[in-house]
């Protein structure tokens, strides 16, 4: 029997397991998936936990619930992947050989990368919302908070879900309005980017929204250190921002096993062919989801589109046929903007988010790059879609793998209006 091993049973790995078990010949191939954790987190839901919209139970399920019959789940950590000998060494020392390896080890926050971030103040005055522990600790802190300086901060790109710190700022504004203390809270949004967001078109729209909500934007802020006693952050060029409460997205990096196996770049992300998802170093190694070094968003929707392309390419690879360069960097993200509304953006490697209707021209029901109630309902409905459609590797109705131009106002560049 030939061996296909998937490393990581998160969003991307689980989708691949579900797709491949339907495609591959079970008489020829054994499919295994390795992950040390039992729990599957609905990570987009973490954003809502600090505000009490979701609780832990809304975002946690057992991994095995989503893994198909006919695959072999190995619940163990990985010590090392050796691409030369096609062998994985598990934490208990067992070795597993593979013919094809799919790496879906994701990304994690590494607050230790910033001086002073993970000190005494961590989860006391300084919080992340990228872990369930951070999000729930922040919820308790927000419940008791009487107001002051709230600093929402992003350390460096790339991060999982680049819109999430903005969404946090928008939702915080709404939350403090609802709890009646908005006028006692000063919200500052500090980012190393030159604007609110990475994509210029979108940055303008979201930048205006920050202003409308009375949130101060501090661009080009490259953090050097945190002082958790005097409560300020300082940049490499000696700018300082004071805070009473800091909510940050720390540096995101790939899994430690990638570094141990010498497969990644300085952020432990793995060099990957941007269109076929084949690894650059070994032909029988494929990478998807947050683990790649690609300039696409690190987001579940991206992993979903990648999984479609990669499944096809794995099937071509086993038949010794040429891989298809079909992944176009497609991402599709809801952006919560507070007060029960949201934006939706749809873009790829080459095309920035534009306005329009999605997915159906003239009908929608969603509006691209506009703030609507329907988009917010879409974001909430997405949790059901995630557990029931996405993870099971089923196609999303009406949404194509490659970015579609249907319903989009191409050539409508907001930057020109403001130029």
């Amino acid at each position: 029997m030939k061996q296909l091993i998937i490393v990581g049973a998160g969003t991307a790995g689980t989708m691949m397991a579900n797709k491949l078990v339907r495609e591959m010949n079970p008489k020829e191939w054994t499919i295994s998936i390795i992950d040390k954790h039992k729990t599957h987190y609905y990570q987009p839901g973490f954003l809502f936990i600090p505000f009490g919209t979701y609780s832990e139970k809304d975002v946690i399920k057992k991994k095995t619930q989503f893994l198909p019959k006919g695959i072999n789940f190995i619940q163990q950590g990985i010590h090392e992947i050796d691409g030369e000998s096609n062998t994985i060494t598990l934490e208990d020392g067992t070795k597993k050989s593979y013919d094809i390896l799919i790496i879906a080890t994701g990304s994690v926050i590494v607050p230790e990368e910033t001086e002073g971030l993970k000190g005494e103040g961590w989860h006391r005055d300084i919080f992340d919302f990228y872990t369930v522990e951070g999000a729930t600790a922040l919820r308790e802190r927000l419940k008791a908070w009487k107001g002051g300086k709230l600093l929402v901060h992003m350390t460096e790109m790339p991060i999982k879900c680049p819109v999430s710190p903005l969404e946090f700022a928008f939702l915080a504004d709404s939350f403090f309005k609802d709890t009646g203390i908005r006028e006692k809270v000063e919200i500052t949004y500090a980012t190393p980017l030159s604007g609110a967001f990475t994509k210029a078109n979108c940055s303008l729209v979201l930048g205006h929204l920050l202003k409308d909500k009375g949130i101060d934007l501090v661009p080009d802020f490259d953090i050097e250190m945190v002082n958790d006693e005097s409560k300020y952050i300082q940049s490499y060029d000696d700018k300082k921002i004071d805070f009473d409460l800091m909510v940050t997205v720390p540096t995101n990096m790939g899994d430690e096993v990638i570094e141990r196996s010498e497969l990644g770049d300085e952020l432990r992300f793995i060099p990957t062919h941007p269109n076929t998802l084949q690894g650059k170093k070994y032909d029988n190694m494929f990478i998807l989801g947050d683990a790649t070094d690609l300039p696409s968003s690190k987001a579940g929707s991206v992993a979903h589109f990648q999984a479609e392309v990669l499944t096809e390419n794995i099937m071509l690879y086993v038949r010794d046929l040429e891989l298809k360069p079909d992944f176009d960097g497609h991402a599709n993200c809801f952006i919560e903007s507070g007060a029960g509304k949201a934006f939706l953006i749809d873009f790829n490697y080459d095309l920035e988010p534009v306005e329009g209707d999605f997915p159906l021209p003239g009908i929608g029901p969603f509006s691209l790059l506009k703030e609507t109630r329907m988009n917010h309902l879409g974001k909430l409905a997405f949790r059901w879609i995630y557990w029931n459609i996405l993870l099971k590797g089923r196609p999303m109705p009406g949404i194509s793998t490659q970015m579609s131009l249907r319903g989009k106002k191409i050539g409508h560049d907001r930057r020109k209006e403001h130029a």
């Binding site: 030159s194 990475t198 300085e266 952020l267 968003s297």
Partner: protein
């Protein structure tokens, strides 16, 4: 492709005035661009950074990141910000005749 005249040399430029042909770059162009971007006179430390960036780009066909520069001995991060204030990588690559660093999503 638009062109512009820098230090009596006509060069091709793309987005935000970044040069598109590294081969057209000269030291005189760097001096003019540094003046233009408010950095003023280029010291040896500036040249060290510029040469490192050009070498890196030649070998890797991409730009290093500020993070990867930290691991080299070329320039301490703090000093990099002092040499090229307000977006050191953006400014340094422009002066070095290299592409604008992409802010990835």
């Amino acid at each position: 492709m638009p062109e512009r005249n820098i230090a009596q040399t006509v060069v091709q430029v793309g987005e935000d005035g970044y040069m598109t042909q590294p081969s057209e770059w000269t030291r005189e162009i760097a001096i003019a661009l540094a003046e233009e971007s408010g950095i003023g006179e280029l010291t040896q430390s500036h040249w060290d950074v510029i040469e490192y960036l050009q070498q890196y780009f030649k070998e890797n066909q991409k730009l290093p990141t500020i993070r990867s520069l930290k691991k080299t001995k070329v320039v301490p991060t703090k000093e990099f910000y002092q040499l090229f204030p307000e977006g050191p990588l953006k400014k340094a690559t422009k002066i070095a005749g290299l592409p604008k660093p992409a802010s990835c999503v």
